[in-house]
């Protein structure tokens, strides 16, 4: 049971890292990305293949996975920079499906739908399964903490301010002197990097990846986590990720207790319950558990005549 709880904490940490990444793209810059599982997959495959086929150390593989995903993110953003709202959502959804189908069919490289197994984990061979899980939890915890601190710095910085301005009104942001397309590409690259790193962490944890892991449902879980936690809020992203994993896992135990429900019905009931919760949340707490907060700056007394209108 302990091992199970630790394993769930690791997966919640990976969800949290993804939610932090999506928060930059969607929460701050307002770009709807329904293809985040595609970026997750790119990170997982790049790191798995580099460590397995080229014998790279795990840390280097993860770094390369994050970097490669970041570049893919920048590329997707460059292509879609003029798209907004629903159109961007559809294109990114298509991107994720494309990645999945390419992974299924590029058999010489990815082993197709059979997936890649035997992906190395740090000290997997020398540690007991319990110790390995704990070590991995420590690694994921550290990475999520660092990612959270960096994301908080970004959010509070002028860079984050520009992203949030773009979210509200792109055209006014451009007239305010901001190169909107460039900021969007940067935001996408950062967010995609976090998603790729999360994918690499996943691959090296479970030691096995296959295309059928990277389905749109995972995208929706992360979106749900962010919505539940509070869109635009980094703390909310982490809290939301843990809440979602807790919810997903606790229903696994709760549903069998309902009398007269078969296993198949139970699985369907679980999805139904999650959907219903999302609707309830959006209806009664659209701002999430921890709503986005404005930075408060004390007003400074400035001597009159201090401001000159022209430089």
């Amino acid at each position: 049971m302990e091992n199970y709880v630790i394993a769930m904490a690791v997966s919640a940490g990976i969800y949290a890292l993804m939610a932090l990444g999506v928060n930059v793209i969607w929460g701050m810059a307002g770009m709807v990305n329904l293809g985040l599982v595609g970026f997750f997959a790119v990170g997982a495959y790049v790191s798995a293949l580099l460590t397995l086929k080229l014998g790279l150390p795990i840390a280097a593989g993860m770094g390369a996975g994050a970097l490669a995903t970041s570049l893919v993110g920048a590329l997707v953003a460059l292509i879609t920079v003029r798209l907004r709202g629903d159109y961007l959502a559809i294109v990114t959804l298509g991107f994720a499906e494309t990645i999945r189908i390419v992974a299924s069919n590029t058999i010489w490289l990815t082993n197709g739908t059979d997936g890649i197994s035997g992906i190395a984990g740090p000290y997997r061979g020398t540690l007991s399964p319990e110790a390995f899980n704990l070590l991995y939890l420590a690694i994921v915890g550290t990475i999520v903490t660092v990612a959270y601190l960096l994301a908080e710095r970004l959010r509070a910085s002028p860079f984050g301010r520009v992203l949030r301005a773009i979210r509200d009104d792109e055209q006014v942001a451009a007239v305010a002197g901001k190169h909107v397309a460039l900021f969007k590409v940067k935001a996408f690259a950062i967010g995609a990097g976090a998603l790729g790193l999360a994918g690499a962490l996943y691959a090296h944890y479970t030691s096995y990846i296959a295309p059928d892991i990277f389905v749109p449902l995972l995208t929706l879980y992360i979106k749900l986590a962010l919505l539940a936690g509070g869109l635009g809020n980094n703390r909310g992203a982490i809290i939301g990720a843990f809440a979602i994993v807790f919810l997903l896992e606790s229903t696994r135990f709760a549903i069998p207790l309902v009398p007269g429900v078969s296993a198949v019905q139970g699985a369907a009931l679980r999805e139904l319950l999650i959907a219903a919760l999302l609707i309830v949340l959006l209806r009664y707490r659209p701002q999430g558990l921890v709503p986005e907060q404005l930075r408060q700056i004390p007003a400074r007394a400035v001597p009159p005549g201090r401001y000159q209108p022209t430089a």
Binding site: L150, R153, L154, S157, P158, F159, G160, R161, V162, R164, A165, R167, D168, D169, Q171, V172, A173, A174, V175, A176, G177, K178, H179, V180, K186, I190, E292, L294, R295, Q296, I297, A299, R300, A301, V302, P304, R306, Y307, Q308, P309, T310, A311
Partner: protein
Amino acid sequence: MSLLDVRGLTRSFYGVAALSGVDLRVEAQRITGLIGPNGAGKTTLFNCISGVVPPDRGSVVFGGCDITGWRPDRIASAGLARTFQIARGFPRLSVYENLLLYGDRQPGERIPAALRRTAPSLRRESELIDRACAIAQRLNLTRVLNDPASSLSGGQKKLLEIGRVLMARPKLILLDEPVAGVNPSLTREIGDHLRTLADEGLSVLLIEHHMDTIAQLCDHVVVMAEGKNLAEGSFAALARNEAVQEAYMGRRR
């Protein structure tokens, strides 16, 4: 040489000509008014000058530099700032952030500097906070600095629009109906602010339907109708001009 020199600007939307060869000159350190009936093409002209909509033909020269077809952010960085007719902006940002966003030269907008919180980026932010406070004091927005912009009253939103463009320390500001829908006492207040700013060396081009404001503020007035120049001169002279009267009131039979 004029600060802004627009020549032969043409723009149509799906075959309908919004601008058909407009000329406009704005002299430095003056308030120039741009008037004309609804649909005359005034806002389209603003959009073409500020880069929001590229013109089909014609040229826009600002401070001796041809900015025709430039991206809006480059035009803004060159010192030409504009507002929008219906107070647009960033409702989910605080008033402070709305102002700070417009600050020029911000090192903290680069990711490495933002992550490392470098000394120059923090120093610049602090300078901009000073500037934002000074502008807020001027425009009576100090008390609402930390409120979300969406919570401001209509008049405060208009003041914030002016405050935002001032943050960029522009050479020229284009104001699209700065007193539309504003009560008479605030209209006077906004007029006074603009007059003071012009006296301090700022150049202003403003679209306005409120003729008292135009009469009181503008050194020079340009009249547009149906996408073309109709007349220009002092407000008093234009008020007597029959072509202008016809454009507004309809033709006498």
